[in-house]
Amino acid sequence: MSDDVLRIRTPIGIKYQYSAGPRVSSHLLGLMEGRFVGKRCPVCELVYMPPRNGTCAKCGALLGEDVEVSQRGTITTFCVVNVPFLGQTIKIPYVSATILLDGADMGMQHLIQEVDAADVRMGMRVEPVWRPREEWQPSLENVMHFRPTGEPDAPFDSYAGHL
């Protein structure tokens, strides 16, 4: 029985060429210039930042004009990560938050640092901390993390419709 083949390895390699699409490309090119460029839905007029896959899922519509949004935003929801996992690069506990940038209608996910996890709260005002310019790529990873601005918290009503 010990001669039976129980397992074989069959390596698979396929190369793909990924295309971001014309609508997401303007967002990625904006990140190369340190700007947050989103897009407006021509039907419901909501501003998507980032512009998902170039579409408004609610309307089933192609997103339209570019909209540059603010570098400041509000934490709408967040979670404190206390669980260690393989490949973790950030010291726990840390906070992953949904941030609604001023001028955008959809929150984006990012890391919150430079504040004790216990002090993070809904409504907290935050701003991005960019990596050194020479490290920039067409990626939201150009922003290392967001940190509190010290402004007064945004009132709940100002982001209640975006949760």
Binding site: K15, S19, N53, G54, A57, K58, A61
Partner: protein, 350 residues
């Protein structure tokens, strides 16, 4: 059985490359098919999608396709990891349950995202055949060689298939390639996978097809001449190539019999035969005669948008019934090596 008909279709232009994302490609075609049926998304009872994650290289990539539908208020939808024609079969079954009266079916794929001949290798048995990495053309060439050796096809007959499809595609603005080639030129062309030449092989394309089907009087109220689905049947052969006939297509013959192909004459057959010799095998399996016009669109030799090429055959056949150029037509879809799976649909006007 509830009566069900194809009442509208739309196709994107077939292209060899595209910079748009798969979801961006879907939206104009979804909007067009709704417009062609004078319907809006709230008129659709069920949405069913065919695509393949191996083509995008992203697991669960099909989920993002729902973004193209405007799923608010919520919709009822489903997905098959297959050509959109198989999604149409699921939608037809869903209408049979009586739960819904209308369905929008779509298939899409970007063949250009990777090496499609190599991606198709992954549908082979993963233990014995797959690890040898035969590509799609090589597998098809083995079959073509067996057919030539046994005399069920000739190189001239294959060239005639290529000639007719490329000529037909001259009048199909959506086709990826077309042309008026002499038999001599076709037979003198360079071999790409002996005995196959370039124009014996599918014109892999990036594409989208969408179709709307509706039940009974709902269909009659929406269009003047619906293309009624009088029979539809799906049959599958062994995945093990060693168990398969290389020179006949028993699953296609059985599906054609069950769908009632032989009950009356067929005016038009749109066949999803990716390779020229396969169209010859399929014509025999379906029992088609000289009086049937085969692939007036140019078929898969002139545009093979993976995951929508089968549904495009349904759309082409239905269009000819709906505009009165045919009374009885076949839409056919296949998948897998050596046309392992066959879905045959008989469409009729009334």
């Amino acid at each position: 059985m509830r009566e069900v008909a194809i009442i509208a279709s739309a196709q994107a232009d077939n292209t060899s490359t595209t910079t748009s994302t798969p979801v961006e490609m879907l939206i104009p075609v979804i909007q067009q098919v709704l417009a062609n049926a004078s319907m809006t998304k709230t008129d659709i009872g069920f949405w069913c999608h065919g695509s393949c994650d191996y083509m995008t290289g992203q697991p669960f990539s099909f989920v993002s396709a729902v973004d193209a539908l405007g799923a608010w208020p919520p919709i009822i939808e489903s997905h098959v990891e297959a050509d959109g024609a198989f999604a149409l079969y699921e939608a037809w079954l869903k209408i049979q349950t009586g739960e819904i009266d209308t369905a929008l079916v779509f298939g899409n794929g970007r063949s250009s995202s990777g090496d499609i001949n190599r991606i198709l290798t992954l549908q082979l048995d993963p233990y014995v055949v797959g690890p040898l990495w035969p590509d799609d053309r090589s597998i098809a060439a083995m079959q073509a060689r067996a057919c030539l050796e046994s005399g069920v096809v000739t190189e001239r007959a294959m060239a005639e298939v290529a000639q007719r499809n490329h000529r037909n595609a001259l009048t199909n603005p959506k086709a990826l390639r077309s042309g008026d080639h002499s038999i001599e030129a076709l037979m003198a062309a360079q071999l790409v996978a002996d005995p196959l030449r370039e124009l014996d092989c599918p014109a892999h394309a990036d594409g989208v097809t969408a179709v709307i089907i509706a039940a009974g009087d709902r269909a009659r109220s929406l269009v003047a001449r619906p293309a009624w689905i009088r029979g539809i049947d799906h049959r599958i052969e062994s995945q093990n190539l060693g168990n398969r006939s290389m020179t006949t297509l028993p699953s296609a013959a059985l599906a054609a019999h069950k769908a009632g192909v032989g009950n009356d004459k067929i005016d038009v057959a749109e066949l999803h035969a990716p390779y020229s010799h396969q169209e010859l095998l399929l014509t025999t399996a379906l029992g088609l005669s000289e009086s049937t016009t085969i692939n007036p669109s140019g078929g898969a030799l002139c545009a093979n948008p993976m995951m929508s090429a089968g549904l495009a055959r349904f759309a082409e056949a239905a269009t000819r019934v709906m505009n009165g150029t045919a009374d009885r037509a076949i839409g056919h879809a296949s998948s897998g090596p050596w046309m392992q799976q066959n879905l045959v649909c008989v469409l009729e006007g009334e």
